[in-house]
C-alpha cells in the first residue's frame, strides 16, 4: 500500500513537470467548452433564395414579397434564365431558385396551369428538404389568400394546423444539447489519450523493464497509472461543467451527484480501454492511431450529433457495447430532463458492466505481455 503511494507521488510529479500536459489539462476543457459548444448547431439560418420573375405581374410580385417577408428566406439575385439560375447554384450563391413562368397570372385566372419551378441545391439533403417544406408552406399561404379573394368563406378551406411546444429546452438552444456531448469528449480526451500515451511511453522508453524487476505488483502498477488520470478526468469534468454553466447558463435539472457518479463509471471504462489498447501496441505512434480509430467510431455512433435511434439496426446493436452511447444518453437525461436514478438505472448498470469488461480485457492483456 505504501508502495502505491510512492508510485502515485511519482506519477503526479511527472505530470506536473510537463508544461504542455498541464496546459492541455487546463486549456482543453476551457477551449472545448467555449469554442465547440456554440459552434455545433444544426440550426438553419436564412436561406439564400434567388427568383426569376418572367411574368412581372402584380400576382407574381405578391408571391415574391411573401417569400421575402418570411423568416426562412433572404432574397438575393434575380437570374435571367435557367442557365443563370444553375450558375448561382453551382457557385453556391443561392441555396434555391424559384422560376416564375411568364404565364403565371394568366394561369391563375384559370386559363392554363402555370408551372412554378423550384431548383434546390441538395448537397445538404436535410437543408434541401427543409427549404422545400418552407417554400411550400409559404405557397400554401398564398393559395389561401387566392381562395379567400374569390369570396369563398374561410370555413370552406378546412385545415389542421399544429401547435408545437418544446419541453426541457423551450428556446431550442443547441448549446443545451451539445454541452453534455462535449463534456463526454472531454473525458475521452483525458482518459484515453493522455493516460494511454503515458502508459505506452514507459513501455517505449524502457523504464517499464526496470519496474518489472522491482517488487511492484502488476496491479499496483496499473492502479498507479489509472488513479492520477481518473482524478484529473473528474477535475476536468468539473472545470468544464463550471465553465459551461458560467458561460452559457446551462440549466442542470437533475442530481449532480448522479451525473458525476455515472461519469466516473464511464471514466473507468475509458481508462480500461486505454490500458487494453496499450497492450496491443509497441509505441506511442501506434497507440495514437489505434485510440483515435476507436474513439472516432465510438463517438460518432454514440448519438452525440445525431440521434442514435435514427440509426440502422446494426448500428443500434453496436451501441449496446458502446460506453459513449450510454453516457451520452445519461448525461442528457440527467442534465436537461432531470431524470432520476430509477430512470437511468438500467443504462448505468450496463455501463458498469462494460467498464468491468474493459478492465478485465486490460488485465488479461497485461498478463499476456509479461
Amino acid at each position: 500500500m505504501r508502495r502505491l503511494l510512492f508510485l502515485l507521488k511519482k506519477e503526479f510529479r511527472q505530470i506536473v513537470r510537463n508544461p504542455f500536459m498541464l496546459r492541455a489539462i487546463i486549456m482543453v476543457p476551457l477551449l472545448q467548452m467555449l469554442i465547440l459548444v456554440p459552434a455545433i448547431t444544426f440550426e438553419i439560418k436564412r436561406l439564400d433564395l434567388a427568383v426569376t420573375d418572367n411574368d412581372r405581374s402584380s400576382a407574381s410580385r405578391e408571391l415574391i414579397s411573401k417569400l421575402a417577408g418570411s423568416t426562412f428566406f433572404k432574397t438575393t439575385a434575380a437570374p435571367m434564365n435557367i442557365a443563370g439560375a444553375e450558375e448561382l447554384l453551382l457557385s453556391g450563391d443561392a441555396d434555391l431558385v424559384l422560376i416564375i413562368p411568364n404565364d403565371f397570372s394568366e394561369g391563375l385566372s384559370g386559363m392554363t396551369k402555370p408551372r412554378l419551378q423550384v431548383l434546390v441545391d441538395a448537397v445538404n439533403a436535410t437543408q434541401a428538404m427543409l427549404a422545400w417544406s418552407y417554400l411550400t408552406s409559404v405557397v400554401r399561404d398564398y393559395n389561401m389568400d387566392l381562395v379567400m379573394a374569390t369570396g369563398a368563406a374561410p370555413a370552406t378551406i378546412p385545415g389542421i394546423t399544429t401547435s408545437p411546444r418544446y419541453w426541457y429546452n423551450p428556446t431550442l438552444n443547441y448549446k443545451h444539447f451539445m454541452l453534455p456531448g462535449v463534456l463526454v469528449i472531454l473525458i475521452i480526451a483525458i482518459g484515453l489519450m493522455l493516460a494511454g500515451l503515458n502508459l505506452v511511453k514507459e513501455l517505449e522508453t524502457g523504464t517499464l523493464e526496470q519496474i518489472n524487476v522491482t517488487p511492484i505488483r502488476k496491479w499496483e502498477l496499473i492502479i498507479s497509472k489509472v488513479i492520477p488520470f481518473f482524478i484529473l478526468g473528474l477535475l476536468d469534468l468539473a472545470l468544464g461543467l463550471t465553465v459551461g454553466w458560467i458561460a452559457f447558463n446551462i440549466p442542470f435539472e437533475g442530481s449532480i451527484l448522479l451525473f458525476f457518479a455515472c461519469s466516473a463509471i464511464f471514466l473507468v471504462a475509458v481508462l480500461g480501454m486505454a490500458l487494453f489498447f496499450s497492450t496491443l501496441v509497441s509505441n506511442r505512434q501506434q497507440y495514437l492511431f489505434v485510440a483515435f480509430f476507436f474513439t472516432m467510431i465510438f463517438v460518432l455512433m454514440s448519438g452525440i450529433f445525431t440521434p442514435s435511434e435514427s440509426m440502422p439496426r446494426w448500428a443500434q446493436q453496436f451501441n449496446w457495447v458502446n460506453p459513449v452511447a450510454y453516457l451520452m444518453r445519461i448525461n442528457r437525461m440527467v442534465m436537461l430532463k432531470g431524470a432520476g436514478f430509477s430512470d437511468i438505472a438500467r443504462d448505468m448498470g450496463i455501463l458498469s458492466v462494460l467498464a468491468m469488461g474493459f478492465i478485465s480485457l486490460a488485465i488479461r492483456g497485461y498478463r499476456k505481455r509479461a
Binding site: M21, F42, T162
Partner: protein, 373 residues
Amino acid sequence: MKRFMAFVRKEFLHIFRDVRTLVILFGIPASQLLIFGYAVRTDLKNASIAVLDNARDNVSNDLIHKLEASDFFTISNRLDSYDEIDATFKKGKIKAVVIFPEDLSATLTREGHATVSIIADASEPNTASLVTGYTSGIMNDYSATLTKQATSGLPVIIPEVRMYFNPNLESHFMFVPGIITLVLILLSALLTSVSIVREKEFGTMEVLLVSPLKPWQIIVGKVAPYFFLSLFNVIIILLMAWFVFKLPVRGSIALLIAECMLYILMGLSFGILISTIVDKMENAIIITFMVLLLPGLLLSGFIFPIENMPKIYDYVSMIMPPRWFIEIIRPIMIKGAGFAYVWKETLILAGMTLFLIVLSARKFKVRLEETAR
C-alpha cells in the same frame, strides 16, 4: 542523390513495416465512410413518438394512421392522460407526443379549422424541430386533400421541385469531402510531426544531421512517404465512395487530385513546423489535435455548416486551411464545378501553404544551428 534515395527508401520501409499503423490508416477512412454513410443521420427515421388521442374519431384515426405510415415515425406509446407525458419523456423512449383534442371533428366541421398539439422533447433540438416540421408537413398534406376536395376548380399554384446535384437526397454526399479532409490532416500533419519528433526523442535525428545528407534532403526524405501515402489514401476513399455509395466525382478528377496535393503539402509543412516547436511526441500530438484536427473536424464545415454558426466563427475559420479545402473539393466532387469556381479559394490555400513552408523551413534551420553548437 544516391544517398538521398537510400534515405527515402529507409523511410518507406519504416512505414510499411509498421503494419498496425498502416492498417489503421486505411481503416479510419473506411470506417468513417461506413459510419457517415449509413449510421450518422441528420434526418429522421423511425423516430419514436407517443399519441394522446382524446378525440378517438375518424379524423384522429386517419391522422394517426398517416403518422404511422410515414418513414419518419413509429408510434410506440398510446398515452391515456396528460400527466403521463413527463414520465415518459424522462424514460427517454419517445421524442414527442401528439395530442388530439376531444372535439376535433366537431371543430373541424363547424369552423373549418382545428389545432393539434405537439409536445416535443427539445433536449435534442434538432430532432425536436424535425419532428415538429414533419408532423406539420403530414398535417398539411391531410389539409391539402381536404382543401382539394373543397376547392377543386379554384386556382391554386402547385410548385414543382428539382433537387440539384443530389436527386436522391442522400445525406452522405456532404460527408465524403469532409472525410477526405480529415484523413489527409491525420496522415500529412500528424504522422509527419510525430515521426520527426520521434527521431529527435531517440537521438537518431542527430545522427542524420551529422551525415552527408543535407537538411533539406532529410526533411524531404521524411515527408515523401507520407505524401504518397496520403495521395494513395485519397484514391482509396474515392474508390470506396464510388463502389459503396455510387458517389461519383462529377468534376475533373485531375483538378481534384491537384487540389488534394496542395492540401497534403500544407499538412506536411504544418507537421514539420510542429516538429520544430516540440520535443516530446505527446506534445506534438496534443498540439496537432487541438489546433488542426478538432477544429478541422468541427469548425471547418465538415459536419456543421459554417453558415449556421455565429458570425465570429466564420471569420476565425478563415485562417483554418481545412475550411478552404472543403470549399474547394465539395463543389468539384459533388457539383462538378471547374477551376473557375474555386480559383479564389485555391489561391488562399496556396498562400497558406507557402507561408507554412517558409516558416517551417526557417524554424528548422534555426533548430539546426542550435544543435550544431
